[in-house]
């Protein structure tokens, strides 16, 4: 079924595309996107049987087609995404990141199709951000998302923006294949379908509501979600594989930012019921910036966040962000190549297992971008959250050509 969905979306979308004869007025198509080569090398040998030690190479192609009518009332976005990978067959995959029609009237916005929606403010974790499923196979940092089919209705008022989402189809999380690194000790059952709490399975209709606004230096967002959890639990199959299970949840979310001088104070919290006992989780902290460091063009941002999660991971989906401290430094060069470096770590203050992250990027010429990412896992002993990935330190280089 999941192979057919993109085609269904496309067909639905095609109905909205104004034919050149009918359209009352002209608009603009913008074509862009990028193609990238990515090489990932692991600094240690694999830990689990069947995992590959080969240099991990990917080719990524993502063209972008965007239409906007001249009066800005009608928009169409069509953004497919394809990755081909030499090591893990699961990592060779495609998605429709965006494929929607949007109408923007004076009072109301209407969007139909696949889209990505981002809620929240914090850097280390995106607790309230729940509309889109994590495209985990792209990057373990959980900042890549699958396009979510939806109908969205929104209205901008003087007192804020309110949005309602109807999501007729669930996207299951992408998971590492048996050959791939960055997986649990037991391989994931990626062949059979996941199990669901809802008898409608992936066709359960999820709903969500969102309110967001700002007052002076404060930005605030409130959200509610009812539907299939984006995070799975896992059951062990007779073959000794981990089969994902998606239950039904209700979740309230709050996100908040106070911006003053060089400080950004950030806070997110959720309360969730379903898939185990009710629990609350929160992440909060600050980003402080030193501008024009030593009278140069450099800006240095220091980030500190604390992650709390009250869930019982015997019943609820697992999380590593339960009692963790995140600290990072961001260096922006403010040069013509928009060079930037981010270096940080997340440490569990009870077990001391930690995740170190380094990201650096710069532009080459007008159209190329080069990016380095390095991830290290330190001090993960048996029984601790990151133990299964303890040998999966890696360095990744990516060269992208933008169009």
């Amino acid at each position: 079924m999941k192979r057919i969905l993109p085609l269904t979306c496309l067909a639905a979308l095609a109905a909205f595309i104004p034919s050149p004869h009918e359209s009352a007025q002209a608009g603009t198509w913008r074509i862009g996107g990028y193609t990238a080569l990515e090489a990932r090398t692991f600094t240690q040998d694999h830990k689990w049987a069947a995992q590959s030690d080969n240099l991990d190479l990917s080719l990524i192609v993502t063209p972008e087609f965007r239409y906007k009518s001249d009066d800005r009332t009608h928009r169409i976005n069509f953004i497919p995404y394809l990755r081909a990978n030499n090591v893990d067959a699961e990592r060779s995959h495609g998605d429709l990141r965006e494929a929607f029609y949007m109408y923007r009237g004076d009072e109301i916005e209407l969007l139909a199709g696949a889209n990505k929606v981002f809620w929240g403010v914090t850097e280390s974790q995106h607790l309230v951000n729940i509309i889109n499923q994590t495209d985990l196979i792209e990057d373990p940092d959980q900042e890549d998302y699958l396009g979510q089919p939806m109908v969205q209705i929104a209205s901008q008022r003087d007192w804020g923006k309110i949005s309602a989402y109807l999501m007729p189809y669930f996207r299951e999380r992408t998971l590492t294949g048996e050959d791939g690194r960055l997986r649990a000790a037991l391989p994931y059952d990626t062949q059979s379908n996941p199990t669901y709490e809802s008898s409608a399975e992936e066709w359960h209709t999820d709903i969500a509501l969102r309110y967001s606004h700002y007052i002076g230096d404060f930005d605030i967002g409130l959200s509610y979600f009812s539907g299939t959890s984006r995070e799975p639990t896992f059951n062990i199959t007779p073959k000794g594989e981990l089969r994902p299970h998606y239950g039904l949840i209700n979740q309230f979310g709050l996100d908040f930012q106070y911006t003053t001088e060089s400080w950004l104070w950030k806070f997110e919290a959720i309360g969730r019921e379903g898939m185990g006992d009710k629990f609350a989780a929160a992440v909060g902290g600050f980003e402080y910036s030193f501008y024009q460091l030593f009278e140069s063009d450099l800006d240095l941002g220091l980030l500190l966040e604390y992650q709390y999660d009250g869930r019982d991971t015997n019943k609820s989906p697992i999380t590593t962000a339960n009692n963790d401290i995140f600290a990072a430094a961001r260096l922006a060069f403010n040069d013509t190549q928009d060079s930037e470096i981010l270096a940080g770590f997340t440490i569990d203050h009870e077990t001391q297992d930690s995740f170190i992250n380094l990201e650096a990027e710069t532009r080459l010429g007008d159209n190329y971008q080069i990016e380095l990412r390095a991830r290290f896992i330190v001090g993960a002993d048996q029984g601790e959250d990151l133990y299964d990935f303890a040998r999966d330190d890696y360095i990744q280089l990516r060269l992208a050509r933008y169009f």
């Binding site: 230096d217 930012q257 950004l264 024009q292 800006d299 159209n367």
Partner: protein, 276 residues
Amino acid sequence: MKYHDKLSILLRSAVLSGCFLFSAAALPAHAMSDEEKGYEIAKKSDLSDSGFKDHKVSMKMILRNAQGQETTRDMRFSVKEVPDMNEGDKSLIIFDAPADIAGMALLSHTQILKPDYQWLLFPESGKVARISSKNKSGSFAGSEFAFEDFTSQELNKYKYKFLRQEACPNVPSLTCDVVERFPLYERSGYSRQIGWTDTQDFQTRKIEFYDRKNDLLKTLDFLKYKKYDDKYWRVHLMKMDNHQTKKSTDLVYDTYSFDNGLDDKDFVKGVLDTLY
């Protein structure tokens, strides 16, 4: 100086200037102090631009390093005028090139003496983030323009002093009032600026920027003015030269379009994720 002290000075000067504007025709010019005269010139220049409601323009930013190597950025700029002189205008900048930052958008609500409100749209994730606007003197998009050069052109963000009259730089056939202005908002990178405003159309022809040590930092030349609707003058080439780093930035503007029917709803945070 506390914020409300500044505000009271601002209100006082606004009231004063109202009186002077009213009586200026009756009084000989030398009855005004140089400060009052400087403010009047700046106000006349500010008013000559007001009433346009909104404008949209595409522009190309050409950045040159000390060796003369060029890189360019394309962006679209829309501005909604807020008629109340004690409130700042609202603006939206959308980047089109380089391609990897295409769709990135910056929304600004200019405040007079408080820090501006600014939000940034990251198109790849769809994230809209409030950013600090404290960094007034930092480089805008790697150029020789500082954030404050764009967002701090409101009349009441400065106090003024008239210096002299002379032939205009760049247009010697016109006469220019030369006025010094001192930033009233916090954390400006400048101790002062000297501006040349012509006495015929009241348009700025040149500005010199002095750094906090009072050394000449940058010169901005305003070239290729065009008049729209027989009312509004708009510049089409701005050349910023940094005398200390030898780097320069040109802003090349396309044709402006006025009165596009933009309203406050086109400049709210909630519009950002509908743009791209």
